[in-house]
Symmetry: C2
DNA sequence: TCTTTTTCCTATCGGTATAGTAGGATTATA
DNA sequence: TATAATCCTACTATACCGATAGGAAAAAGA
């Protein structure tokens, strides 16, 4: 339940690798080799991250990927949203009324509450929290 | 991301239907019809809930399903665990060392933190919270 | 201009899980 | 024995996912 796709796990490892490097930059093949990820598959992941503005990509010789912001500015909620989309436990988080006989659907609030809890967690962690030593910023224990 | 299976959504709706009925009991076909769920598919769901001890099932004539406990004793964490398994963002929540070069893996703590946040939310809500009017017990806002 | 290095794009494939269906076996009541 | 219900096993169809393949576009340097 609630398992995270390999795509997102790979993406986070790739970002963490970049964040640990001086200049926060590297070439795709290097990341793939260091993190033991299928190079071709990682390409698509990095492209997604670039499209979301989390990394800058430069083509051609001397090209590669570079973190768009400092690690403590890369919010994990944005990372997972870029790779696997927004947190959406059920389809009716925005559009009400799909599942049901209740006009003010009761379980809908339950799922929205879960979404909020997850978004809050992911919104309060950054890449910096991950590469340091743990993932526990003072907030929210 | 983090979408909930139809199985779990159906299961919760079925439990909510039972909780709203006097005696907390109904027959499978009745639930399926009222909640507009495929009857055959719902059978398997109710069997799982019965195996997890969340509902009692009685076979034969005058049989059916009944809530095993009062709605405020049915913890949502148990419900989703019965239907879709434990919350496990990554495989290495227990077994360390699958993904990585780090001995004290950094991203692992991140995922465990997420699991904890989700478990906390689900562990603090019961079926009663769902059938009332919202899903916001005083705790944890 | 030509070659090299890199990111980008599109299409495809095999595996796996999910939602749903089908048919019957079991159990209990009357 | 007939009926009404849960239980069990197997099957199908679809969709997504991880991965692969082959190249197209772009930037730099010789
Ligand atoms: S309208 Fe979506 S859960 Fe009810
Ligand atoms: S050991 Fe699993 S995330 Fe590193």
């Amino acid at each position: 339940m609630f398992s995270v796709s390999a795509r997102t796990q790979y993406g986070i490892r790739a970002l963490a690798y970049l964040a640990r490097k001086p200049g926060w930059e590297a070439v795709g093949a290097e990341i793939a080799e260091a993190e033991d990820i299928s190079p071709k598959y990682l390409e698509g992941i990095l492209t997604r991250l670039a499209a979301a503005g989390l990394v800058r990509s430069e083509r051609g010789k001397n090209g590669g990927y570079r973190l768009a912001r400092a690690p403590d500015g890369v919010v994990m909620a944005d990372v997972v949203a870029a790779l696997d989309g927004e947190v959406r436990p059920v389809d009716c988080v925005d559009s009400l009324g799909i599942c049901g006989h209740d006009t003010s659907c009761s379980s809908r609030k339950f799922w929205i509450g879960l979404k909020t809890a997850i978004d809050e967690y992911l919104g309060n962690r950054t890449l910096a929290d991950i590469i340091e030593n743990g993932a526990d910023p003072g907030s929210a224990n």
